[in-house]
Symmetry: C2
DNA sequence: TTTAATTCGGATAAATTTATCCGAATTAAA
DNA sequence: TTTAATTCGGATAAATTTATCCGAATTAAA
């Protein structure tokens, strides 16, 4: 569904959001440990998210990553997915045709758009804050 | 969503099904041309589908691939996807956790299973025959 | 029996994704 | 001013997926 990079990106962002709610900044090393992801690869992904203004990075000792508190409720999963995987989830044809639309569809087109629209809707309406709540009370996990 | 191999697999199978309805057998070369897929790679995929008894292969001149007429209505997309991509679509965690279930879920688990169950349902209820109808009347396409 | 058209199957190669390495730049604290 | 902890960014490497190559096996027709 999502690329590995995107999976790590979502998990990392949720972890940063959770700590940012308490005003705590977290380092790359700690993030990778806490979400069980490869350190250097995670670094690339965080850079990408920082460039897209989804998270903030701070250099130097005591540096790390954080998210502005007032943005946590407004950042949606779709922004992370788009920053890392691009619009492939929205655009591409389910059967891999170069072009595929309602006028000249692949055989699966109609059934496919229904499901993809649900996915799109879910990503666009789910905020970091919403997903953070379960983590906060120990009901959900970013590592297993 | 699906791997490239699976996309080619579905397209090839639908093309074979369409011709098999008229009792016509089709060669690898023709399939690759008609669905615009790489010949040798498509060969591997068709072998896999033949081993899984989804399609029949016939060697020698006048050989090729076909599907028993009476199976076309009962073969579901899910069988093709499972033969090629395995159960990854059904099992894996949306955020890539090694394990993820209702008891110890990732933050996205509940929202994810909803969408994935829709996808599963769609794949399990959509038959080759159903998708063949649009192709037959030129309403849908396997190549663009 | 011979020929030629096809699928089969194993060995590779190319492309993409995932992951690592390491020096440079930054910056807080001693 | 120096030190050390951190992110940044470019160059690679490893793993996986996608794709190609080619001889062997099969088999219908001449």
């Amino acid at each position: 569904m999502f690329s590995k990079a995107c999976e790590y990106g979502i998990r990392a962002t949720l972890h940063i959001a959770l700590l940012s709610m308490d005003g705590v900044r977290v380092s790359l090393k700690d993030i990778a440990r806490d979400i069980d992801s490869p350190v250097a690869f995670t670094a690339k992904i965080l850079q990408q998210l920082a460039r897209n203004n989804i998270i903030d990075s701070v250099k130097g000792p005591v540096g790390g990553f954080e998210i502005q508190k007032d943005k946590i409720a407004s950042i949606k999963l779709s922004q992370i997915v788009f920053a890392i995987d691009g619009d492939s989830i929205y655009r591409g044809c389910g059967l891999g045709l170069k072009e595929c639309n309602a006028l000249e569809p692949c055989p699966l087109h109609e059934k496919f758009v229904l499901i993809r629209n649900d996915l799109k809707e879910m990503l666009e309406t789910t905020s970091l804050y919403e997903l953070t709540k379960g983590l906060d009370v120990g009901l959900t996990f970013l590592k297993r």
